[in-house]
């Protein structure tokens, strides 16, 4: 007996967001990238168009990291003093985008000024041609002071700026609207708040088609299953036609994975866990893969070996 195929076709799709502008489009990027566009749950290719491939963004800090494991620092040791050189290394390691993390402007982590932030992104812009992401330091006052200047410095580049929250969105939304950038709306593993952020941002006149959603994610073993269910719920809402939930999604794997004790603990302290480098790289790669399977469109990562595993995996998922 032949069993009939069952498909669940949707008339709606995840929004497409284009990041990066070439010279012809008013920027200086060598190319742009487009994310989103799925018409189905992740990888249900029998149900419809999977949309664009997920992309890997590699973190570049605005100043040398002060809390990275030696194992993570090793591949970048020669370049951490220069964000431009660091970004080149990231691209060499396979970065589809470079994510500049403004750690050094945080009052507790260097309290560097807006001029420093602008210099850091300018160096990255000069050094590489891939599209850019700028990630805040997560101190609202400092972000509101520095990021508008960074946004102005990158005007025309159609970068992706993050993040805005329900408590702090007006300043960054305003400048990104004026300077033509895309925006990341953040929520603390909370689907209701994610929707509210999107509504607040769009109330200011910011186009829905330029918003990317971010749910603060934990690493593998630290609540990743909550992130997974939330991404799933967001995707279902998008496919059912909820315009306030139809944005593509970014998630953070590298930073969180390398904060996990499974990545940080040396082999000497826990011999039964095996070699630390292999363990930490696996932890980062597995965190990223789980999030990609949940439907994430951009994943931010750190260690080149983990990046290689994830890029190879994406290639295999999309090999027809």
């Amino acid at each position: 007996m032949q069993i009939p195929g069952v498909t669940e076709a949707s008339n709606h799709r995840v929004n497409e967001v284009t990041i990066g502008a070439t010279e012809a489009e008013g920027g200086t990027r060598s190319h742009s990238v487009t994310i989103g566009g799925a018409k189905t749950l992740p990888f249900m290719r029998s149900d419809g168009d999977l949309g664009h491939r997920p992309l890997v963004a590699v973190d570049v800090l605005d100043r040398p990291p002060d809390d990275w494991s030696d194992l993570l620092l090793e591949p970048y040791r020669d370049v951490v003093n220069d964000p431009g050189e660091w970004a080149k290394k990231a691209v060499e390691y396979g970065a589809d985008l470079v994510c500049i993390v403004m750690e050094g402007i945080h009052p507790d982590r260097g309290d560097l000024d807006a001029a420093h932030a602008v210099e850091a992104v300018s160096k990255v812009r000069e050094a590489v041609g891939v599209p850019l992401i700028v990630w805040r330091c997560e101190d609202d006052a400092k972000d509101n002071e520095a990021l508008p200047k960074v946004s102005a410095a990158l005007k025309g580049e159609r970068a992706l700026f993050g993040t805005v929250t329900q408590e702090n969105y007006k300043r960054l939304t305003g400048v990104c609207m004026a300077d033509g950038h895309n925006l990341i709306g953040e929520a603390p593993i909370d689907v209701n708040m994610a929707k509210q952020v999107n509504i607040l941002v769009s109330d200011m006149g910011f186009p829905l088609e330029r918003i990317v959603m971010y749910q603060t994610t934990g690493a593998l073993g630290y609540g990743i299953e909550y992130a997974y269910s939330i991404q799933e719920r967001q995707r279902i809402a998008a496919l059912q036609g909820d315009r306030m939930m139809a944005m593509p999604v970014i998630a953070v794997a590298g930073e969180y994975a390398w904060k996990a004790k499974e990545a940080k603990t040396p082999e000497s302290a826990m011999p039964s866990w095996g070699p630390q480098l292999e363990r930490a790289v696996t932890w980062e790669a597995m965190t990223a893969l789980a999030l990609i399977q949940s439907g994430v469109d951009i994943i931010t990562m750190r260690h080149p070996k983990a990046v290689a595993i994830v890029k190879d995996y994406i290639d295999k998922l999309y090999a027809s």
């Binding site: 929707k195 509504i199 306030m244």
Partner: protein, 267 residues
């Protein structure tokens, strides 16, 4: 949630005058106002305003289509008037035919006609013997309608079943709303995906003192058992708020603090 705006109907004095005088402006204004308020379809009923109902229906459909692409629900009990409306429809989204009784010979005419014209159909759970007075008879007529849809190859998402709501203040009719809720639950599980359930909501409160309150209370109750469409006054903001809230409480849209606004942005 599929609201069908009820206001373009010749039984309202303003529309009766406009149709009789072929005055486009009030019709077009009302079409746009209802669209703005969230109408997914615009019901279109010529009532008794014109001697030539077919010509009036054609004019009404054309007049509305001049200003909006919101699809129309052609509302008439007369087949010739429905056909005149269908001839005038020019919309890739199709339309709804409102309505056809649950008599088999009627369904055999209406269903093929709807399929041919890219139209959905509202079928009433009543027959030439009248409106059923209990749960079982309503469900039985619904089963006949669904069986006919399957026979004619009409997709369940093109079929709206209307359980016929009578005014609650008619002597002896007060048990009917409860019967309807029972029947809806049973009709909703007859097919997968389920058929749409709609109703002419305002009829429920005809002649009562608390029309708006009665309408929106029943709408929320019926939404809970599967009603997903209704022919309503979409300009009644309290009614639409209650409906959106009922759908949110049923987890049909993701909650946010601005859920009323979010729902309207999706309309």
């Amino acid at each position: 949630m599929i609201p069908i705006g009820e206001r373009i109907n010749g039984s309202f004095p303003d529309m009766k005058r406009a149709i009789a005088a072929r005055d486009k402006k009030p019709v077009q204004e009302l079409a746009l106002k209802q669209k703005e308020a969230g109408a997914a379809y615009l019901d279109c009923n010529v009532g008794t305003a014109a001697a030539d109902q077919e010509a009036a229906m054609r004019w009404l459909v054309e007049t509305i289509q001049e200003v909006t692409d919101t699809p129309i629900a052609i509302d008439s009990q007369k087949l010739a008037v429905v056909r005149a409306g269908l001839d005038a429809i020019d919309n890739p989204k199709g339309c709804i035919v409102n309505s056809c009784s649950g008599d088999e010979e009627k369904l055999d005419i209406y269903m093929p006609m709807c399929i041919k014209n890219n139209a959905s159909l509202i079928a009433l759970t009543m027959t030439r013997e009248g409106v059923p007075q209990n749960v079982e008879a309503r469900v039985e007529v619904a089963a006949t309608i669904i069986g006919k849809a399957s026979e004619h190859g009409m997709a369940t998402d093109r079929l709206f079943i209307d359980p016929i709501i009578l005014p609650v203040n008619i002597p002896g009719a007060q048990a009917q709303p409860g019967y309807i809720l029972d029947a809806l639950g049973q009709i909703k599980i007859m097919t997968d995906p389920p058929v749409h359930i709609t109703c002419g909501l305002s009829n429920l409160s005809q002649g009562t003192q608390e029309r708006h309150l009665i309408n929106r209370t029943f709408l929320a109750m019926a939404a809970a058992v599967g009603l997903d469409s209704a022919i309503v006054d979409v300009l009644d903001t309290d009614l639409m708020d209650a409906w959106i809230t009922a759908e949110m409480l049923l987890n049909k849209q993701i909650y946010s603090d601005s859920f009323l606004k979010a729902a309207r942005m999706n309309m």
